[in-house]
Subunit: 356 residues, 4 copies
């Protein structure tokens, strides 16, 4: 269905070329100052047309809050919101009405539901993620009271990989370049690659890394709703995501216990810490107070500005070439979405954990 | 919490050294022949003491079904079950009462709940997964009517990787060796590595690959409950799991759209297929009828049969050396658990999808 | 929280004097013709200002569908909707900012959330029920394919009770009078009573009876989600509702088994029926194919157009007299709300039941 | 399905003549002293064979806790439990295999699931409620820390009604007689009626009233999960329950606002109270700190020790006469079940409310 979370819940609706995108945040803690400018800034980080690395679609993506806020503060009642769609050139998609685009959701949606809104991908468009950014922005506002920080960044585009561990960088620098990579030199190489791929009518994949710091010990609800299982599901639900790992992640498969175990120690302030963080901040499905470190793998965008063979709704061969406007690499715009889903997950677990 | 699934739900309970492990399967389709031998065989695939590659703990792991079955068939009412614990040598764990083992859940559970059953890891023991195997076995019995097959196998141990794609192997051969790898020669190398690691008092990680074939098109509930997001959460909830990916997965980050798109064609029988399966059987969060192919990364077991520095509950330095019996590599016994979680996920989505 | 249902889910938002009321219907079956005129008619049945028996507040209550519909049909994706508030005279409520009205939710909301939107009752206003009517109208559209009929009517106002069993009336006549009672003569007496009560600045309670016919056998999910338990919760969640019963209901407490048992027989068409329907269409928590018959008790509206003693937010004595516009009896406008909640409940169970 | 609650969840399983009844309590607060004697006492209040007013079936109903408790305290992990069935004379039910008993669930279960365990009513037997009593007993243990009291009693049997409001009685006296009525004289009349009905092979209905005192202000989650809506669903899910109301309940339908409004005042201790409690402790779906007062209506048991006409599974006429052992009136044994469901509801809302 279209709802994320338990005590803090985001429900989204909207098609790419429909009237509006929107949603409901239920369970917003009451009394939180609702900084609308901040929400809009978060939306702006995701919106199209930010740079030559992203789609040329122009959208204001202006948020309207419809409820749940009184005199600048959340009341604890549900926050309804909408963002009207404006620059939708549905005619660009007329050729898609009876065609299944490769590696898109056209075929699966048509088969499951028996009909679909083909315009701009309809419900399957990544435009849906703007609702998640709004939900995430509200969660971030609530998390301010806890001094929890969530920061994501581009750590890989194609074969260009951020060379050092995240602790070697000032992550806030990610927002100073269009790729959202904290290392300026790597960012430049990534941008060059994206431009080259784009010029070839092609697309490229990448990885977003997320860091959550300041978490209390014990978030997560074992054994089914482990912190990283729920976080993983949140990430895997993002368009084009094909993988998720935490801490040492897939590289843990190659490691020995003697090198991967995180040894405990007590710091001068009396806090229990670990000397390494191969666990990625989660042990036994519960946060351990160290940074949560996770990676989210994105495939290249399936829409290509070049001709591809495919089939139509009758199963007959045909060809397709995108006329719409699309991102050559989804990763830079996925960064705020990853943060949003992390914020929603964290706040939900935080509220659930208050019962203890 | 301790429940998986929506219309088909597994709730589990039990501590490693408590009276019993057990659970409830709610939503079992009625009229399914309950083959108790099959359930026991599935349990036997997971149970300890199968070979020199696994822990020496001896458990019959004999299942008792308490309800929901009448004259050999499921009635649609909840199936309660228990497996009594027998060979628990709790004294082996007395030294753990006031100590936090590195990269285990002792510290996080103690902090979250304020107390814990330390014996054998209590609730955090991987022994909990036997309940999942039972739930999965019941799901597999229900899936027989759909001709859906679920097969997992060991594809990596340490740096030893199954060399060819899964389609090159007869996957049923996985069960002919203790490692559960479909290639006998690779299996032998993996076994040798595990024995060497074990002899050094160390442990090693690995990867389980899962294949689900015979799925109808359209399983999954977008956008929050995409097929691979829910499947990923199910896998990430398994003890020691640190990563999940589907299809091209993390390698998709390096790829271009032009090489990763799965082109559609219509086969001679009139079925819509794809020429490649980089999507791993899921497009737009819905199954597309191709094999679902996913990987699950496991870290090395944290318990080492060698001395490690750590801290006690007061935060003071101490050392620890396991006296209990533990697996040098979790992967061979994780194979049936991966299958079980896949079966639970598939059946649940199948039942949900029946409304269309 | 603010969500009803499982596979068919309605989430609502909005405050009485906020920007808009609205919601999301998730799980709408795909391919259903979306008759917007019908939805608007249902809304009109609930809207204020219909007659001299209801509040004088004037609202167009014009629905805007924002998503989930393509070329006149539902697509299976979530349907977002809003109804903008227009005739809100928030100044009428300035005197309520620091006062707790008797038998209203001011005190409980203020205590729970620490703040509240006091204007027109904010979230606690019965205006929220218009969102339910929209959700119910969508459910009714989907139920057309099943030939299931849902009809509610006013069966009691104060001490004036509809004299005969519902089968003695043409229920469609309920909509021919402002009270929504199927018997014209009783309706006139009820209207007279409401006018008299209104003229005294007072309010009066009543009962709505609901009939659901055409249901298949077996709806409901025992033992926790019995049909009538879920239906009861749906009704009890309606503003001012204080009681729910089904079939013989509270009168069953006085009866003997020998007089209350519904004896089975097979009719000429071979259908299994019952000679009486004291069960109210539900046995063992599952529908039995007979009409579901239930009653919903509403208390008199708490807002009085006369002075009442109360306390302010500091707990000091004060008095209050409503300046807003209010219904002297909630029952006539509750009829479409009862139908809506019944439709949502039925469709949800119907979809869940498809798995069998 | 078979699960009650959200953060505090009870899942039950078991058939009347199966191996065992049982369940899982998930979300038990950690650190609660688990008084097994108290749980057994609660079970004993519900068990058959207590007096000549109840069924003659003999069951020890001995509880076995299987997990979630360590050194006498709850650990926060799920508590699995079983009660083995002993005195099941399944042969008494052989005649029911192919017959649908009037006003029982035989027909609806058979139709929904296609098969059923007919022995003793199988899953539909009220024996299932013993699992609820166990869940409720655990909830009561957790509620001890909050000084919340839950007390139910028999307020009506047939046409014999407890004459005065509950505040006129010492409710603890309910446990001094077999009927569980706080007024000895009324209890005696009720007992006489039940005995007479029993001697005639008939059964009789009744009402249980529940009182919850000591609740904080603000429990309940509007608008869907109002306190009394969830409480109502919990009660309506109990076998033979046909109605629920709160506070003035159905009598509110006859009342005027001027007589039903509960006027606020501040008591000497500075607490905000109401002079009357027609609201039954709930306003706007949230508890207001006054006693929650509710009624639960039970129909007469459908099983009669006299011959009744009915049909068999082929729809042919036949007759039936119970050979099993049954209660002539369910109400005395329903009292602890009502308390249990109330305790589960209260604890769940209390835990959810902690997030504020």
């Amino acid at each position: 269905m279209n709802t994320f979370g338990n005590l803090f819940r985001l429900t989204t609706f909207g098609e790419s070329h429909g009237v509006a995108m929107g949603g409901v945040v239920d369970g917003m803690p009451p009394g939180v100052a609702i900084d609308e400018d901040f929400i809009q800034e978060e939306l702006n980080r995701r919106k199209p047309g930010q740079s030559d690395l992203t789609t040329a679609r122009q959208e204001d993506d202006h948020i309207e809050l419809l409820s749940g806020v009184f005199e600048g503060k959340s009341t604890g009642t549900p926050i309804g919101f909408v963002v009207h769609n404006k620059d939708h050139r549905s005619d660009d998609y007329n050729n898609l009405r009876h065609v299944f685009r490769p590696s898109h959701a056209d075929y699966t949606y048509q088969t499951k539901y028996g009909l679909r809104d083909h315009r701009g991908g309809g419900r399957t468009s990544a435009r849906e993620t703007l609702c998640r950014v709004i939900g995430g922005a509200l969660a971030k506002l609530a998390l301010r009271a806890y001094n929890i920080k969530i920061q994501a960044f581009t750590s890989q585009v194609g074969d260009i990989v951020l060379p050092l561990p995240y602790t070697a960088y000032d992550l806030s620098q990610s927002e100073t370049n269009a790729v959202r990579c904290p290392d300026a030199e790597t960012a430049e190489r990534m941008a060059t690659l994206i431009r080259r791929v784009k010029s070839e009518g092609d697309t490229i994949g990448g990885i977003v890394t997320g860091i959550i710091s300041g978490l209390p010990v014990g978030l997560g609800e074992p054994v089914a709703d482990k912190f990283h299982a729920t976080l993983g599901a949140a990430m895997l639900s993002i368009n084009a995501c094909k993988g998720f790992d935490i801490g040492a992640g897939f590289s843990a498969a190659q490691a020995r216990g003697s090198e991967l175990n995180d040894l405990f120690y007590t710091d001068k302030a009396g806090n229990i810490c670990t000397r390494t963080n191969h666990s990625g901040g989660v042990q036994g499905g519960l946060t351990n107070g160290q940074d949560v470190v996770f990676r989210v793998a994105f495939k290249p965008v399936a829409t290509l500005l070049r001709e591809q063979p495919t089939i139509d709704a009758q199963g007959h061969p045909t060809t397709i070439k995108a006329l719409g406007r699309h991102d050559p690499c989804v990763v830079p715009r996925a960064v705020p979405v990853v943060e949003a889903m992390a914020a929603i997950t964290v706040l939900d677990f935080l509220l659930i954990n208050k019962r203890y």
